[in-house]
């Protein structure tokens, strides 16, 4: 009969300490990671392509996703916001016109479908109603298609979703003009939906009669991206 090799009973139980310590560090990390991340992102300058893009969590909670490289660059001299489609008064607004539109401030949480969130983001921007009053959509208009300066990114929301009470076309974030990586000069903010509906670098709003899937929806993501009610849950 085979006798097993005796095992030592001496020594300290360092193995279980390392295992449990690592596990505990992971659990504690859930609580402290956002604070550490904020601290480090202040210490590490945020340069596109820098350390913050490679090591997770160095962007102050944000992760910048794009489908084009380099990111679109905003030039106030040449920028034009087009508002087209099924409207009474189509518009081509230069940046000065956009900047002159009345704005509001709001604080809202931002949720990404990949699992991260940034709470209490301070936005400044234009309410959709201001746009609606300006262009007067025709009765047939049921959807708003947002075209990004970043090609081929496009997304669409329904006119009702565009009218959500805390939806806005943001021009500013946390007290400063929108930065390039956050979608300068204009991004949609729709806190009730995941970030991929919150189109960055908006250059055109088109009022449409028919539904058309956006960039990520063509790749399997839900059209109605309600936070906590889509992409695998709640349908």
């Amino acid at each position: 009969m085979e006798r097993p090799t005796p095992t030592p009973r001496s020594g300290i139980p360092f193995g279980r300490a390392a295992l449990l310590g690592t596990f505990a560090a992971g659990l504690g990390g859930i609580a402290v990671a956002p604070a550490v991340s904020r601290f480090l992102s202040n210490a590490v300058p945020a340069a596109p392509g820098g350390l913050g893009d490679v090591l997770p969590g160095l962007g102050g909670g944000w992760r910048i996703y794009s489908v084009q490289s380099p990111l679109p660059r905003f030039d106030p001299a040449t920028f034009e916001l087009r508002i087209t489609g099924l409207v009474e008064k189509p518009q081509r607004l230069r940046w000065n016109d956009v900047a002159a539109l009345p704005g509001v401030h709001q604080t809202s949480d931002f949720h990404c479908v990949t699992g991260w969130s940034v709470d209490n983001v301070k936005w400044e921007g234009i309410r959709p109603q201001t746009i609606i009053d300006l262009v007067r959509p025709k009765p047939a208009a049921k959807f708003v298609t947002l075209q990004s300066l970043e090609t081929p990114y496009v997304d669409q929301i329904s006119l009702d979703q565009f009218r959500e009470p805390n939806a806005m076309l943001a021009r500013g974030q946390d007290g400063k003009p929108l930065t390039r990586s956050h979608g300068a000069p204009l991004r949609l903010v729709l806190p009730s939906m995941y970030g991929y509906k919150n189109v960055k670098w908006v250059r055109e709003l088109r009022f449409d009669a028919a539904a058309a899937p956006g960039y990520w929806e063509q790749r399997g993501y839900d059209v109605d991206a309600w936070v906590g009610g889509s992409n695998g849950f709640g349908q």
């Binding site: 020594g11 859930i30 997770p56």
Partner: protein, 188 residues
């Protein structure tokens, strides 16, 4: 799991697999992995597993010296303090991977459940899950290198797959294990 995880979270991978498919594969591979470990525990040789766990758990003075001298030996070579069936590095690796896997399961569950109930959506969850991935990948890459390529350790692969190793090699690298082994186990 790494590939489907990248498809779920890194934008340059997000177009490769559509989200529902990547998510289903990611979830089911984690369940298969856990089920595999559970089956080994339930149906395997539990006494042998318990012995292995005890060997991984216990660190003696030689293990401490082994760990302290490891960076120097890696750079300059030299003789390591005598080791048991597992050297201190292998034991530490096993413990770290075990702890990280538990953390990955908890954060993975929170990421999954946080989509169902946003109360459980924490900003730190995905950061821990991502760092866990990075550290696990480093440990696994090191493990594969030492098991398959590194001349001094790759003989252990024979032990893992066929169940026996050369006695001279064992005497050199795992002297305390050979000392304790019954004579019947030694000459195959």
């Amino acid at each position: 799991m790494l590939f489907t995880g990248l498809c779920l979270s890194v934008s340059s991978f997000q177009g490769i697999l559509d989200r529902p498919t990547a998510k289903a594969w990611h979830l089911w591979s984690s369940i298969v992995l856990a089920a595999g470990l559970a089956l080994i525990t339930l149906l395997g040789n539990r006494a042998a597993l318990a012995r292995t766990a005890r060997e991984i758990d216990r660190f003696d003075g030689d293990d401490g010296r082994w760990l302290k001298g490891a960076p120097g030996r890696l750079l300059r070579g030299g003789t390591a303090p005598p080791q048991g069936r597992f050297n201190a590095g292998q034991k530490l690796n096993a413990a770290l991977i075990g702890g990280l896997m538990l953390a990955m399961y908890v954060t993975g569950f929170l990421l999954w459940y946080g989509e169902r109930d946003t109360t459980y959506r924490f900003a730190g969850t995905v950061i821990v899950h991502d760092w866990g991935t990075l550290i696990l990948m480093c440990l696994i890459a090191g493990h594969l290198y030492l098991a398959v390529l590194h001349p001094a350790t790759r003989h252990a692969l024979r032990g893992m797959t066929l169940g026996d190793v050369d006695e001279d090699w064992a005497r050199k690298h795992h002297a305390k294990w050979v000392e304790r082994a019954p004579a019947s186990d030694r000459d195959a």
